[in-house]
């Protein structure tokens, strides 16, 4: 294990770096920030904000369903509640929060000065924020979407959903697609080109691998939903007939396109969760995760297979039966790479030295919850069984077991784990344990009974149900569980809020972990590392230090990053790095005007382009002195 080297950076040099990489002062400076840590923190906070909003909607639904024929929420509001809950959790929380963690962590974990395409990264965040605000603005004005987060046509089409509700949904998809695709490009480029010298692909941390694989999945899956939602907007706005069976369109086309995206989307959420798991288990088992190559190959296999499962959302349609059997097989086979990872982790635990702290507890809960959710996933993969439980509470139970167990539990663990890196202070361990146990118990109380409810015939998306069908008691139990979850989330918030002020100071590496983000201060300096590290193995902070330890020769008085080769991470060249700019923010505003305007008139796509074009032109306008400076600096390292 290596202690920070004695050859500390002179204070003057650190101060110069700080000045070089700082944001301009004031509000404008904040809006202009392109620091990935600033953007990452905002991104994480925003995503948790939407998580809370989506959770409140869910709590309201559970209160309505607490007893039969309850009159708390009527059908119109209920339809908006479950649509907003699903849309929020999938598009505004689960996928973005993973990308948000990646924005914060990936550059630190690969030992980079900053993230690739930083202005695009800032733009992607602003677009995401504004899309979410648009959706919630619409909801508060009673124009919240009400056709389900899946927006099946013809119900979501112009004839059966008049008004603007579904348009807001479809336009939110445009916002999140744009943001998600840009983030994918940012993450892929950061991982491929900005790794510390020596961090060849076989030394990349498993969390970074998970985010890289996810980013590629986003690139391939998002275009399908982009096509689908554009078709929907056109049907609704200008009267095309993509999905209108009466005019030669096809209602099932929507489902194919939506689920071709929608099923991989589940894995956009789950695979980063696997990445968190590997990071947490390694640190708290005091050893590297067993089977690095198997883990990486499993991630990639999962990503590939996840594109071949979408029809299992459509088993109840009249597709050919033989074709459905293929998707049964594919849906079951995707369990294998996940099983490999679970077995590798169990081997890691068995041979490790376990340190039970709050992040570890959240990681361990994954085993119980996700494996149970995986078992019900196998059941849903079977065509005949799916025909009984499809669109019932059984599926509600399954998907929450998979997504909360596979992603949210590891995510909460990740929050406890990296919070000290982000704030410099540890979260309270005592509150953390209460938080964990309440969440674990509340989660199972809420969702386990739903398996039985589904088998007993209770369909999803009903705003009420008759008494006497035998569903009353289990529904009440689920509602009680939901309140326990609410209490545990409140505790998490309180812990995060309180620890920011009163938490125990963390130091650089409070968990004695192996990856590079722990090699710098907590919170990290503006330039991430006073001296960017050089890597000689897979567990840089656990291995005996070797020379050279640091990159030398990067400018301190100008923003400069080291670009390395894709496979071996050999130093390739030094590149000038952009300065903070207000234009990504302005461009995002202009894009928002275009997107929101086109909900109301197709002409917005014409006049709305002018401000976008102006903002983008200003953003990319070459400044001769900057270009000169960059050309002067950019050269191959000696």
């Amino acid at each position: 294990m290596s202690e920070p080297p004695a050859d500390a950076v002179p204070a003057a040099e650190a101060a110069r770096l700080h000045a070089t990489w700082s944001d301009p002062p004031g509000l404008l400076g904040r809006l202009a920030s392109i620091d990935h840590k600033v953007i990452g923190r905002r991104f994480i906070a925003t995503a948790f904000g939407f998580f809370l909003a989506g959770g409140l909607l869910a709590a309201l639904m559970r209160l309505q369903l607490a007893r039969p024929q309850n009159g708390l929420v009527g059908p119109d509001l209920y339809a908006q509640l479950f649509t907003m809950h699903g849309t929020t959790m999938m598009f505004l929380f689960a996928v973005p929060v993973m990308q948000a963690f990646a924005v914060y962590l990936v550059p630190l974990m690969v030992g980079a000065r900053s993230i690739a395409f930083p202005r695009m990264n800032a733009f992607a965040y602003w677009i995401y924020l504004m899309g979410g605000l648009m959706l919630y603005g619409a909801f508060l004005l009673n124009v919240g979407p009400d056709a389900g987060w899946f927006a099946y046509v013809p119900l979501a089409g112009p004839e059966y959903s008049p008004g603007k509700r579904v348009d807001f949904w479809a336009q939110l998809i445009t916002f999140t697609e744009l943001s998600g695709l840009l983030e994918a490009i940012v993450i892929i480029t950061t991982v491929f080109k900005l790794r510390a010298p020596g961090m060849a692909l076989h030394r990349v941390p498993l969390f970074v691998w998970a985010m890289l694989v996810t980013a590629f999945m986003v690139l391939f899956a998002m275009p399908a939903v982009m096509l689908a939602s554009t078709g929907l907007i056109l049907d609704r706005l200008v009267g095309t007939h993509f999905y209108n069976p009466g005019e030669g369109g096809d209602a099932l086309l929507w489902q194919h396109l939506f689920w071709f995206f929608g099923h991989p989307e589940v894995y956009f959420i789950f695979i980063p969760g696997l990445g968190f798991m590997s990071a947490l288990l390694a640190t708290f088992s005091r050893r590297p995760v067993f089977g690095y190559s198997a883990m990486v190959l499993s991630l990639i296999a999962t990503a590939f297979l996840s594109f071949g499962l979408w029809v299992h959302h459509m088993f109840a349609t009249n597709l050919p039966e033989l074709g459905k059997s293929f998707f049964t097989a594919a849906s079951m086979m995707i369990a294998i790479p996940s099983a490999v990872q679970i077995f590798c982790w169990i081997a890691t635990l068995a041979t490790g030295r376990l340190w039970f702290r709050t992040p570890m507890l959240f990681a361990l809960a994954f085993f119980f919850i996700l494996v149970l959710g995986g078992m019900t996933g196998l059941m849903l993969a079977s065509v005949p069984l799916d025909l009984q439980v499809h669109d019932t509470y059984f599926v509600v139970a399954h998907l929450h077991y998979v997504l909360i167990g596979g992603a949210v539990f590891p995510l909460f663990g990740a929050l406890y784990y990296w919070y000290p890196k982000m704030t410099g202070r540890l979260m309270s361990e005592r509150l953390g344990r209460w938080n964990f146990w309440l969440f674990f118990v509340g989660f199972n109380l809420t969702f386990f009974p739903m398996h039985q409810l589904g088998l007993e015939g209770m369909p999803r998306r009903v705003y009420t149900y008759p008494a006497g069908l035998g569903w009353d008691g289990l529904n009440l139990l689920a509602t009680v569980g939901a309140l326990v979850i609410a209490a545990s989330v409140a505790l998490l918030l309180f812990n995060a809020w309180r620890s920011a002020r009163h938490g125990e100071p963390a130091g650089d590496n409070p968990w004695q972990a192996a990856t590079l983000e722990w090699a710098t201060a907590s919170p990290p300096p503006r330039a991430n590392f006073d001296r960017p590290p050089v890597v000689h193995g897979r567990e840089p902070l656990w291995e005996a230090p070797r020379e050279p330890r640091h990159v030398k020769g990067l400018a301190t008085d100008a923003r400069e990053v080291l670009v390395t080769t894709v496979l071996d991470a050999q130093p390739d060249h030094r590149a000038g790095y952009p300065d903070p700019s207000i234009w990504p923010f302005v461009s995002a505003l202009a894009t928002t005007v275009l997107f929101v305007g086109s909900i109301f008139t197709p002409w917005a796509a014409v006049w709305g382009l002018a401000p976008v074009a102006i903002a983008l032109t200003a953003w990319f306008w070459p400044k001769p002195h900057e270009t000169d400076a960059h050309l002067r600096m950019e050269r191959a390292p000696r």
Partner: protein, 366 residues
């Protein structure tokens, strides 16, 4: 006889009949000698009448068998993984922040772990293949339901009700009904499924898995109900505001009873004899009712809403949401949205004596 079923989602301000007035109305009906009416009122659906675990026919039973198999296999696998996990946690050494990380083992390679992981993965793959085979075999068995002598029913889903057309080789013997399917026990049924507006899904869990009804497409579903009884089905694909209020009642009865029912359905409505009911019929035909509803044997032939030719013979109104009975029927006509917010049927402001006459007429449609 006052059934205790309450309508689905009654708004608090809605002035539906209180149970007491309902009981009084039923009592009055008895006094008036309309005893047969009482026999119509629906027995409430009990626990298990919409339940995939209580099967009433071979299709649902095959799926239940598969469920039991998968539950057993997955249960064993889950227990095995949890046991391995538990043993790992139990036996692993404990560490702290200061425990030096273990790097030697991972560097040397860990053949024991590798063997165990490989064995567990292999076992998983074999088990999964077994599950796929079981699933495909069940699928095949489901597809092999003998269909000779099958009853053909064309079922069309609307927002938010079910239209059923019983086919017959002789076109004059076809008939139409709504929201209530009667099926002969032991005889296979071939359902042809359409949707008129948005996607719905046919699901009677005690009898069979579900099948979507998709506009522009035709699907079929074969099932057989062997155990006589009343089963509840419900639309299983979100279809708008009253998705929750789109139930389908399935009455499985012995052949003779079914044949008698079908014969009744084939007959057009008899002209009312009672003067009040005659007035009701005139109101029905001259007012807005006939713009959406049909009553065979009269001039009412619209098809936008349920066929009412034998309305009084059905156990429930409004796709399973309101028990059928005089008082409930009157309340439903006056303000359907009180029972089913969002329903396409508008409310009607009739004078009390007109409403009574209308209901008296509808009560003759047996």
């Amino acid at each position: 006889m006052a059934t205790r079923i309450r309508p689905l989602q009654r708004r608090p301000h809605a002035r539906g009949p209180e149970p007491r007035t309902f009981a009084a109305a039923a009592l009055a009906a008895l006094v008036l000698g309309l005893l047969p009416l009482a026999a119509v009122a629906a027995p409430p659906f009990g626990a298990g009448s919409q339940d995939a675990l209580r099967t009433g026919g071979p299709q649902a039973a095959l799926i239940l068998d598969l469920w039991r198999l998968l539950l057993a296999v997955c249960g064993v696998v889950f227990a095995a993984v949890m046991a391995a996990f538990g043993v790992a946690l139990w036996r692993a050494r404990r560490g702290t922040r200061d425990t030096p990380p273990e790097l030697q083992g991972p560097l040397r390679g860990e053949p024991r772990s590798a063997r165990l992981v490989a064995a567990a993965t292999g076992a998983s793959a074999v088990g999964l293949c077994g599950l796929i085979v079981a699933s495909v075999l069940t699928d095949r068995a489901l597809a092999r339901l003998p269909l000779s002598n099958a009853l053909h029913v064309e079922l069309t889903a609307h927002q938010w009700w079910w239209q059923a057309r019983y086919d017959d080789a002789d076109p004059s013997r076809t008939f139409e009904t709504a929201n209530e399917l009667h099926l002969p026990a032991g005889r296979p049924v071939l359902l042809t499924l359409h949707a008129d507006d948005v996607i719905h899904s046919f699901w009677v869990p005690n009898l069979s898995g579900k099948k979507d009804l998709i506009p522009g497409r035709t699907a079929t579903l074969a099932l057989r109900a062997d155990v006589p009884g009343r089963y509840r089905g419900q639309c299983a694909e979100f279809c708008g505001l009253q998705h929750a209020g789109m139930a389908l009642e399935v009455v499985v009865e012995p052949d003779a009873a079914y044949a008698a029912w079908a014969e009744r359905q084939r007959r057009p409505a008899e002209p009312p004899t009672d003067p009040q009911a005659q007035r009701g019929q005139r109101l029905f035909l001259a007012g807005t009712c006939a713009m959406c509803h049909a009553i065979q044997g009269t001039d009412a032939a619209a098809r936008r809403a349920p066929d009412l030719t034998h309305l009084a013979g059905r156990a429930r109104l409004a796709a399973g949401t309101v028990p059928n009975g005089r008082a409930q029927l009157a309340a439903w006509i006056a303000d359907p949205a009180a029972f089913k917010p969002g329903t396409n049927m508008p409310g009607h402001r009739y004078a009390p004596e007109d409403l009574d006459a209308l209901v008296a007429y509808l009560e003759t449609l047996r």
